[in-house]
Amino acid sequence: MTQAQNTNHTEKLVKNSEFKERGPIGEVFRRLSKRVTAMMGLVIVVLFFISALLAPHLAPHDPYEHSLAHKLATPSWDYPLGRDELGRCILSRIIYGARISLLIGLIVISIGIFIGVPIGVVSAYYGGKVDFIVQRFVDTMLAFPGILLALLLIAILGVGLHNVMIAVGISTIPIYARLARSSVLAMKARQFVEAARSIGASNLRIILQHLIPNSLSPIIVQSTLHMATAILWAAGLGFLGLGVSPPTAEWGAMLNGGRLYIRVAYHVATFPGLMIFITVLGFNLLGDGLRDALDPRLKT
């Protein structure tokens, strides 16, 4: 086992000489740029960020300005995606909705990483009883399939955007804990950890300086893919009417509003859903690409 790992390590060192010329980020980008799908993902993600950050400059109309006289109006030059059930500009609401989705994604992932990763690292590093207890705790959280844990947490916390973010965030903690744990377990026996310990580094130092930085790449990949899941789940909860309160422009809630009019005005539900789909696809494409670029061994 160690021999195979050593060979692997040497290969990596050889490859690392390339790293020094470009720097790690340049290298990842070079590998990423070779894949058309990954680049498509990157473009979608960048557009999503731009739309979220520059919403007031990009939106053609005020997303909250309603006009009942024009409710459910079909797409036109002035209102390219039509108007919703209150006569509001759907395009503007979609552009503003990107802000909410981005916010949700970032907060959900931060909760997952900042709580889940330390749990996983500590669990793997100390092993034994600590590991056993933490893992049963993680098992318990993973015993709620899919969106169910988030729903349960909403039931406790109550309806609302903040609670959606907290609920989805907490549901991702066990996934990050598992990921960090397996990553650290694989690394714990490696020589650089042993070396650090032999020169007297403290546990905290080994964890912060060696284990966490070295398990970053699977976590980065997972976070990108998780942006996709977070956006999907949060939109799902919005669709169920458990998220933002009206009139906030959020994609899931927009879909929920439009669903009642699907027979008479298809566009009200179609376009917000299409945006969720494209954004999620973008993060999935980028995540797949990053996985291949950062760590080909993780390829499934």
Partner: protein
Amino acid sequence: MTGQYIIRRLLIMIPVLFGISLIIFTIVRVIPGDPAVVLAGPHATKDVVDQVRVQLGLDQHPVKQYLLFIGNIFKGDLGASNRTGLPVTKEIMARLPYTLLLALASILVATVFGVTAGIIAGVKQNSKFDYLSMLIALFGLSMPVFWLGLMLMLLFSIKLGWFPSVGAESFKHLVLPAITLGANSTAIIARMTRSSMLEVIRLDYIRTARAKGLSEKVVISRHALKNALIPVVTVIGLQTGTLLGGAVLTEIVFAWPGIGRLLVEAILSRDYPVVQGVVLVVATMFIFVNLIVDILYSYLDPRIRYH
């Protein structure tokens, strides 16, 4: 060996089941306010609230409350819905068959399409079919279930009139919800089958089979498939469990009378006894599905038992 493995897996389940019961027990007790009022519902009279308090032992020590809670679960008593007044078990049993039917139909759709597409894509790696099916699979992974459901409804029931849009009266009612709920799993199963196929095809024993002069068809169907499908079985099993959770959104879109819809209705109306009951049932079922999958896996792949 297998017996030992099953026993070990069963033992691991105990703390998880304990954890779930504890989480569910805690729900109503961490919500601000009097748990008896929370459980009896916002419109309950004082008498009802007092009755609930005595019934659940809410005036007693938490440990005793917990034991009473567990005892009630084993008696099949999950309390009464504070919307309808009916026993929660009755409410769940009325809805559960619909969700199971939907989940099974979805997993059937996902298995048939996912495995077929995955095998062809794997055998014909880098072909047009491979690229196209994997692209569609990625679409399937990225598609919001509720949106897919609405779009299918728009096309196949509103525009074309082939299938009814809502309800659960006939087989025809099942088609669109099953496709909607199964789409995500189809994608996951297709990707898994493909990569597993690719892995197996490179192994020595396949080369041997080819070297013996067997036709490609026999090599794939008799030799490669058997081993390639082992991890796929696991994924299919796990998806069955995940579908139980995912059914929530599909059931809302198609007004399907399952427990997912029951859960959402209960959350929106703060009907906590029902929330508790549904979550308990779904999580327990999910754990047992996982257990069955693990045991099945150890039969299919004897190596797993030694780890």
